[in-house]
């Protein structure tokens, strides 16, 4: 598609949302058998799946840390997840996304509980529509909890952007392509920012306002993450009760 004339009309975005509205979110916890924890996360048209393995042995050995676990994060896009087929394997973008996503989660993991071991987080993007790194962090955060990794809190993530000179929450693909700015953040529920990136164009005031908007988005996502985990454990509990 070529650049639309307007990305916002009468305060409504091309996909029908208001500027401060998130895309629909669907969360399923514990979707994989082999992984220690897992989560399927739909964020608008984004579809990602996160798996956590660990704490487990570190290979290769020289990556071990003697006083804490090493956290590894692999963000990967399926070849078919985007319009133009992506060549399999890591590229420079996915290496950077993996790094900042790992750093977004490390602050909440009690790594010192598991010296010499690894906590591996794998995020696969099955369908991409702008916001895959934030979707991945949201999914990974739940998968860590599902794996029983001790954490200080969950981490929630979403982006804020600017289109037609208006700040908007949670860009979708066309807004990302033709907008003026993209700023993903990740946050703990008590407001600590564990990821912030930005590119495009923001005035000093827009930045402050945008950051607040993104924080509100993160808090809303946090509620959904909690609900999904509670639902999973309730249904487990029910299962156990029924087993008796």
């Amino acid at each position: 598609m070529s650049k639309p004339e307007k990305l916002i009309e009468n305060g409504i975005r091309l996909d029908g949302r208001r500027p401060d509205e998130l895309r629909p979110i669907k969360i399923k916890v514990g979707v994989l058998n082999r992984a220690d924890g897992s989560c399927y996360f739909e964020f608008g048209r984004n579809k990602v799946i996160a798996a956590v393995y660990g704490p487990r042995e570190v290979h290769p050995r020289h990556q071990q840390k003697s006083t804490s676990a090493v956290v590894r994060y692999r963000y990967n896009m399926a070849s078919f997840s985007v319009e133009e087929r992506k060549r399999p394997g890591p590229d420079r973008r996915s290496i950077e996304v993996s790094k900042v996503s790992r750093e977004a989660l490390e602050p909440v993991i009690f790594q010192e509980y598991f010296p010499r071991s690894a906590i591996d987080i794998f995020v696969e993007v099955l369908q991409a529509d702008a916001g895959t790194r934030t979707a991945g962090i949201n999914a990974a955060s739940i998968a860590l909890a599902d794996a029983g990794i001790p954490m200080k809190s969950l981490v929630s993530s979403c982006a804020v952007g600017k289109v037609d000179d208006t700040l908007v929450l949670d860009l979708f693909k066309d807004e990302d392509n033709y907008g003026q700015c993209d700023m993903p953040i990740a946050m703990t529920p008590d407001g600590n920012i564990t990821l912030i990136q930005m590119d495009g164009h923001l005035t000093r005031d827009e930045f402050t306002e945008g950051l607040e908007m993104a924080k509100k988005g993160c808090l809303a996502i946090h509620e959904l993450q909690k609900a999904a985990l509670i639902e999973k454990y309730n249904s487990q509990l029910e299962g156990e009760v029924n087993d008796k």
Binding site: L32, N33, R34, A35, R45, K47, I49, A51, Y53, R56, R74, N76, A78, S79, F80, S81, V82, E83, E84, R85, P88, G89, P90, D120, F122, V123, E124, L126, Q127, A128, D129
Partner: protein
């Protein structure tokens, strides 16, 4: 150490069940696990399918774009099949370029489709010698519960059956179905202590010395075959597997892959 002992115990357990004609999940030797196939699960792909076969779970995406034909087949489209055993899907898979297991799986899926001539490659030609459709079949394994081989083949065929040539996006008219003319189905058996079992679970697969995959087509003819693993098979075992594979393929095709 504990892990190795557990594996040994598990092996004995399955072996002893087998002696009694049983399997750990109660199936008959020629019975498949529960199978579900959902298509059109990835709308960015030209065709897609999600397959769950017991604990095995994978997604196949078909991407179709234009490209240059091979010099020796200037009037035929191109199929490229890729399969990744990503570390998300199993504690034993590793990141990095595909290893021999993944490559073998991808190549057997590919041959099953290519050699059965399931796709009419000549109809994928746009301008002879210059421009043809490239059909990328990407298999993304999400959970390894055993018998990825059959799940991947089924997913590839199911995704192709719903895939469209994106004529519109390339200004070539309306989108049309991928020109399919057969529906090959792969059936995999393992040999455990002399017995033959279909659709091995992960445990069964790991203790089996040998796997034989037989791909057969709508007429009940054989279009591809692959033995994998270090134990030999007798002629009788092979002929037996071929017979039940053709029969089972027919069942699966009729139930899951109606065009």
């Amino acid at each position: 150490m504990t892990n190795e002992i557990m594996a040994e115990l598990r092996k004995d357990y399955i072996y002893n069940l087998m002696i009694k004609g049983e399997r750990e999940d109660g199936r008959a030797f020629d019975q498949y696990r529960e199978l579900t196939i959902d298509t059109n699960v990835i709308d960015k792909a030209e065709g897609s399918a999600r397959v769950k076969l017991g604990d095995t779970h994978l997604v196949v995406g078909v991407k179709i774009q234009t490209g240059t034909p091979f010099p020796d087949t200037p009037d035929q489209g191109v199929i490229i099949t890729n399969l990744e055993l990503i570390p998300l899907a199993s504690p034993v898979f590793e990141a990095g370029p595909p290893r021999e297991d993944a490559i073998e799986l991808a190549r057997v899926v590919d041959r099953g489709i290519r050699e059965s001539q399931a796709i009419d490659l000549s109809k994928l030609c746009i301008t002879p010698g210059e421009k043809v459709w490239m059909v990328f079949i990407d298999v993304h394994v999400l959970d390894d519960g055993g018998n990825i081989m059959d799940a991947a083949s089924l997913g590839a065929v199911a995704a192709l059956l719903t895939a469209k040539l994106p004529n519109k996006r390339f200004d070539l008219g309306d989108d049309v179905n991928v020109p399919m003319r057969d529906v090959p189905v792969s059936v995999t058996a393992v040999e455990i202590g002399g017995s033959i079992m279909l659709d091995p679970s992960l445990d069964e697969q790991s203790i089996a010395g040998t796997r034989l995959t037989v791909t057969s087509n709508q007429e009940g003819n054989i279009s591809a075959m692959q033995k994998s693993g270090v134990y030999p098979l007798t002629t009788e075992q092979i002929n037996y597997i071929v017979d039940i594979a053709i029969e089972k393929a027919k069942e699966i095709r009729e139930k899951f892959l109606v065009i």
